[in-house]
Structure formats: C-alpha cells, structure tokens
C-alpha cells in the first residue's frame, strides 16, 4: 500500500484515478475496516489536509466542508439555531471524544454505514451533496446519494467537497437515537424537521440497508408500516419497528419544541 498526500483537490482527484485507490479523511471508518482487512486499498490518497473544512453560513443556506469534523459540528455556534440543531445534536452523539476529533462529515456520508447517524440528518434537512471528479462538479440530493449498505452515488474517483443545507427560517430540527450498547452506532435513529408551514420530515437510520426518508407529508410516522426494517440477533424486527416509531415520534416532538421555543 502506498500513501500520498496531495496538496490540491485536483491532485487528489488525479491520485484517486489509480486502481483501488481510496481517499483517507479522518480515517475513523477506513482504518478500522483496513485493520479488519475488509478493505485493502493499493493507494491511500490522504485528503486530510486539503482546504475542505469549515462551517459557512449565508442567508439562506449552510455549507459544510466535507472535512468538517464532528467536534467542529458539535461546537459550532451557527448550529445552535433550532433549524440546524439536529446537526450538532447528531454530531455530539457520534462515537467518542477521540473519534469526534478526527471523524468527518464527508467521510461518514461516503462510508454510508447503514447504522451511522448523520445520513438521517442530511436526509431530513434536505441537504444537497456536492461531488467533484476530474471531469467536473455535480450536486446530488441526499435522497439520490444513499443507494444501499456502504453504497452511494459517488464515482470511484470522485470526492464529496461540500454539503449544502437549505435554511428554512423558523423551523425546528432534532436527532434522537437509541444506540447499540456495544458499538454505539444507531440501533434506531431518527432525524426530524418541523416547519412553520406545518410540513414535517423524518428520516430513519439503523433500521435497514440505508437511511431513508419516511414518505409522507402529513404524519411521517404513518408511513412506518410500509418501511423496510431489518431485525438482527440483538434487536429482532418487531422491536426495531416499534423503536422506529418511538424515535421518530420523540424526534418530531423535540423538533416541534425547538421550533416553538418551548424546549430546552
């Protein structure tokens, strides 16, 4: 295995063109799977020092660089407002202090672990994911991005550069998870957004092959019976389905409290 540290995005994209090349950001997902010898890249393109970080707020959107760490998200003042609180809340519940010091937003989304937390939040907040390849830039919606367990719309030599969140003034958001007692990943996680116009969205994670939005405008929880939910040895499917309802409802309640300024 080779390790290269490009100094520009273009160089990184060039490096990724090599067969079996992999981007290395915070390494908090990639190194664990490499240690288990599940993934064996020939070249690691270390993007960790590229200028892809930062929390950028403008009037109607929030742009988060792919290399923004969980720790930056959990402590960013910009994310204190109810409309974006789910982001910080979710980040602060990921892994542990050491993992949050290094793990990045882009890495988590690209890794697309079906039990990871943040995919639910980007889905519920209706984020757009900005991707760059040598051939150019494209933007895909969060819904188009997640395709299955550890599978996304990313091309082999493509990088996430930014994630863009529309700002809906006056809305409230929340993330609630029941964690697996050993791994800490989501046994069931729900991100909810409640808007002043009465609209609401809920996305679930940890339930199946990938995070997904509950398709319903009225009450998203009504869509639960049709959702594809998996069981496993630890948490049988009846329990997971029940839990999905619990976290979805709790997330909605908290999002509404935040919107109305009655919570916290």
């Amino acid at each position: 295995m080779e390790h290269v540290r490009p100094s520009t995005l273009d160089e990184a994209l060039e490096g990724l063109a090599a067969p079996d090349a992999k981007a290395l950001a915070g390494g908090q997902s990639l190194l664990p799977v490499m240690k288990l010898r599940i993934v064996r890249p020939s070249v690691l393109v270390d993007i960790g020092r590229l200028e892809l970080g930062g929390v950028h707020m403008s009037e109607n959107e929030l742009r988060l660089g792919a290399l923004t760490t969980w720790n930056e998200l959990e402590s960013a003042q910009e994310l204190e407002r109810p409309a974006l609180a789910a982001l910080a809340e979710c980040a602060s519940g990921i892994g542990d202090l050491q993992v949050r010091n290094r793990g990045t937003l882009g890495g988590s989304l690209a890794h697309a672990d079906p039990a990871s937390d943040m995919p639910a939040v980007v889905l519920a907040l209706g984020a757009q994911i900005v991707l760059r390849a040598a051939s150019g830039e494209r933007t895909v919606s969060a819904e188009e991005f997640f395709l299955g367990p550890f599978t996304t719309a990313l091309g082999p030599a493509e990088l996430i550069t930014e994630v863009v969140f529309p700002l809906v003034e006056g809305s409230g958001s929340a993330y609630v998870k029941v964690e697996h007692p050993a791994s800490g990943f989501a046994l069931a996680g729900a991100a909810a957004v409640v808007r002043p116009d009465g609209g609401q969205s809920v996305a679930l994670t940890g339930m199946g092959g990938q995070a997904f939005l509950l398709a319903s405008d009225a009450n998203p929880v009504d869509a639960l019976p049709d959702a594809e939910i998996y069981g496993d040895r630890f948490a049988p499917v009846e329990y997971r389905r029940h839990l999905a309802g619990v976290v979805a409802r709790r997330a909605l309640d908290r999002a509404r409290e935040r919107m109305e300024g009655t919570g916290e």
């Binding site: 080779e2 290395l24 908090q28 664990p32 202090l97 050491q98 993992v99 010091n101 290094r102």
Partner: protein, 162 residues
C-alpha cells in the same frame, strides 16, 4: 511489501525519526519504533482508548491513525506529559484520588482528560463521563477516575489563577 521509509515526527517536544511502512499505525510506530510503550493496545476495533495520545493537544486513538498522518504534527504520549520532571496536575490527581488499579487504561484516560480540560475547564460529572466514553476501564468502575478528573480540573483552574 512497500518500502519502509524514515518518518520525521515531533514527539514529546523532540524531533524523532522512525522507520515505518505506509500502513504502519501510529501506535506501532510509537511502541515498536520509538520504544514509547506507555501507549497501550487494548482492542482492534478502535474502541477502548488505551492507545490514546495527543495530536496537537487533541486526544486521538493512535491505533486508528497511520504514522504518516502524524507527520508535521506534535504528538504527546504519556511519557512526555509530565512537565519538567514534575507530574502534571492530572497525573497527580490520578495518583491521589486512586484513579487507577491495573493502570492499563490510565495513560489513555489521562490524555483524554487533558483534551477535555483544555476545552471545558470546569466540567460536571456527566460531562466527564461522556468525555471518557471512548476509554474503557475494567477495574475501577470509573468513579475514582471521574473524581481524579474533577480534582485535576480544580487544580488546573487554581494553578491558572495563581
């Protein structure tokens, strides 16, 4: 096998050089290459925190970082945590408040506590416990560790005030 190369690192304030392969984890470079065996290995799933070191002052799991990723950064291990031959207040608190039994988790606990206390100088117990989530201890039941961190926070605040 890809060629090993000499890697220059700043460890505990000193410039050190170690022979590493690109795949070598920082923890192995520290332990095997540099003889800094106070950094321990307790798991292979990046969970236990026994391998925690400071990278530019921030706690990281040295088993979940390549040695090459530490190039250009300042690494602090438990061996370099004491200040001028005197125990760091956090170390002293762990001794005085019985924050250890077997001691295998201790270096990682202390370094994680250091990161916490630089950001939150006056944490409550819940904050301390949350910060130590990625540091397993099987001996103490954690309470004496929480006591030690709380006492260290006080000592550090008083030290600063003085």
């Amino acid at each position: 096998m890809p060629a090993a190369r000499q890697l220059e690192l700043v460890i505990n304030g000193e410039r050190r050089s170690a022979e590493v392969e690109p795949r070598t984890l920082l923890v192995h470079a520290l332990r095997d290459g540099l003889g800094l065996t106070g950094t321990h290995v307790g798991c292979d799933t990046s969970q236990c925190g026994a391998c925690t070191v400071l990278l530019d002052g921030r706690a990281v799991k040295s088993c979940t970082m390549l040695a090459v990723q530490a190039e250009g950064a300042e690494v602090t291990t438990i061996e370099g945590f004491a200040r001028n031959d005197e125990l760091h207040p956090i170390q002293r608190a762990f001794v005085e408040h019985h924050g250890l039994q077997c001691g295998f988790c201790t270096p990682g606990m202390i370094l994680t506590a250091s990161d916490l206390l630089t950001r939150a100088p006056d944490p409550d117990d819940a904050t301390i416990r949350r910060a130590l989530r990625g540091n397993f201890c099987r001996c103490t039941g954690y309470q004496s560790i929480v006591d030690s961190v709380r006492a260290a926070a006080t000592a550090l605040r008083e030290g600063e005030a003085a």
